[in-house]
Symmetry: C2
Subunit: 362 residues, 2 copies
């Protein structure tokens, strides 16, 4: 679509919809060097249905044993490998064009868990050579103060990714603030346009939300097949459960999403070949929720008070880990599973954004 | 977000993201007069999970008989009621502000089924007082000819909805053409931003795609409860299966989407309280796919050659109707089920768009 042909439309549309901006970036396999995740477009398949009887013939009856000792999926190690490849690409970028990716973080208030998360992101960014700018605002700051900070980052061409650390204090309108982030810098991928593109076959979002992308990468790097598997996602939040279910569906899993209105979630969960928990409820998922041999991705990061810990708490997941290890075939631990992958994906999305901004390819 | 605060952001954003365009239209219950469907925002509920044992206590074991005689959901009659209420609102609009909604249709080529669909839309529009402009282009027209026609409709303030009749001839890029429709006039609701807003809690799309919206309205007008029900959607197309699954989830159903990679779809379908079929395969769903007492919404409209019919074919659904009526508690017929509702929702979306354009409220 040229601007000449559609002067009015072009004027109304932001840059990422103009000049085939999306098409320009969607067909390249940016991820080929760093991640196993393929582009979503490359996954699209025509849904040709065969007759019922034929489908039944194809049925592989899964024989499951009750004597599993689950493989612990080492998210920390996998994330380290990804960060190391990101670091190498950042070095190449610096050598070839004298530029590095740059991430801006806005932290409001003094929440200790938020401070920990931001500190982890700062350390991870520094390690891979991504420049990080942080603005800290007081707990009682106004919405315009946050928005003004955001606006400066939006306008600053040297910034490639912007992250507002959640949760925000209650007096601030979280949705409004998140929607004010420039789409080209929305490395968290929470904008509805990104979510829509994630959902629709034939589309590729500018950014895939970090936690769901990290979960898929964990599965792929652990050699776990997704196509045709029954996946159950517990939780439907905009930032984890929903995008995770959409991403699994793009990978051709048969997906069911459980939420607080689901009747008998335990029974449905027990059908899952791949179970993703993102409910935010400690130990919600007990042994009776699990199919023998299932793969479990535990996204829950629930702080539990712990005076012996350096920060006064430690994290546990949504899954009763000890029970699960005796039933599942593979499981991500908390901490050390999905968490480090989320950070690695944030760095990856920031690098990808910088590549676009600099039109940087090898 | 004021323009003063974010001059750059505002300049990059189209009008529907500026000046709280979305917020302005999402809180009003436009549909209260014509449809039973509530605004999606009004459906949002916090997902508070209770413990496993408590959830099991709530379990209502469904006792199903095998002796159902399914209620036939009369989509034709329900759609007629909606069209009559639309006609009444169009008359009021004309009386009060001297304007009527206006829908533009672009038809490429001579496909007989497309001609039938367009003819039905023309008749339905005329009946309710919506002005319809149609452009017919030859089968071998170029992409720019279609885009030029589209562009004129985009720029024309007297047009409130634009519809490109699908499928387009193979030499035309369907996605590119659909994406060129102005968002404020995309009454089919297929833009990724609409799909993203449909998926995300806390958001309301500008337009909900007509067929999925029509299916939900059929359920609501038939007094069928959706919250907490197990819904299975067969098919994941961008225009029916996907938005339908997202909409059911916003209505708090527990949704599973089946597609051609699903193993043993029959078994999963048999768990459904509400089964929506949009696979486009005649008689895919047999008796063995159905739970006794299930509600079936058959979106399949498969033409079958029929020399005795006026147009040389008749339509059948994805569901083996005779078998299903003996097992389901309610079923939509083909034709006369979802089809007329799709047309009614197109008229509704066009009216809604005109209301926005004229800032028309009572």
């Amino acid at each position: 679509m040229s601007r000449r042909m559609f002067p009015v439309v072009a004027a109304l549309q932001p840059i990422w919809l103009r000049k085939n901006f999306l098409a320009q970036y969607t067909s390249r396999a940016f991820s080929s060097q760093i991640l196993k995740s393929p582009s979503l477009l490359s996954l699209d398949r025509a849904d040709s249905w065969c007759s019922a009887s034929k489908q039944s013939d194809h049925l592989a009856i899964q024989e499951c044993s009750n004597n599993w000792t689950a493989e612990i999926i080492d998210g920390k190690a996998i994330a380290e490998g990804i960060r190391s490849r990101i670091a190498s690409e950042v070095r190449q970028m610096k050598e070839l064009i004298g530029e590095v990716p740059s991430l801006a973080v806005i932290l409001v208030g003094q929440r200790r868990d938020s401070q920990t998360y931001v500190r982890n992101k700062i350390i991870a960014s520094e390690e891979v050579g991504i420049r990080l700018k942080m603005i800290g605002l007081p707990e009682n700051c106004t919405e315009s103060e946050v928005c003004n900070a955001l606006c400066r980052f939006n306008e600053d061409p040297s910034i490639h990714g912007i992250l507002v650390q959640l949760p925000l204090p209650q007096h601030l309108d979280e949705a409004k603030i998140l929607n004010a982030i420039s789409l080209e810098k929305d490395v968290d991928g929470f904008h509805p346009l990104n979510i829509g593109s994630l959902a629709m076959q034939g589309m590729e979002p500018l950014f895939i939300p970090c936690t769901p992308k990290g979960c898929i990468e964990l599965l792929l790097q652990s050699g776990i097949e997704i196509t045709g598997k029954k996946a159950v996602v517990i939780g439907r939040s905009n930032i984890v459960g929903l995008p995770k279910s959409l991403l699994l569906q793009r990978h051709h899993a048969t997906v069911t999403v459980l939420h607080a209105f689901t009747k008998n979630p335990e029974k449905i969960a027990r059908e899952a070949d791949i179970l993703v928990t993102a409910a935010g409820v400690p130990n919600l998922v007990r042994a009776s929720w699990l199919k023998p041999g299932a793969v479990i991705v535990d996204v829950g990061t629930n702080p539990v008070e712990d005076p012996r810990s350096e920060y006064g708490y430690h994290l546990i997941g949504d899954v009763c880990f000890d029970e699960a290890t005796r039933i599942a075939s593979a499981i991500t631990p908390v901490p050390g599973g999905v968490g480090p992958m989320t950070v690695a994906m944030l760095l990856y999305n920031t690098l990808e954004s910088a590549r676009r901004a600099f039109k940087f390819t090898y």
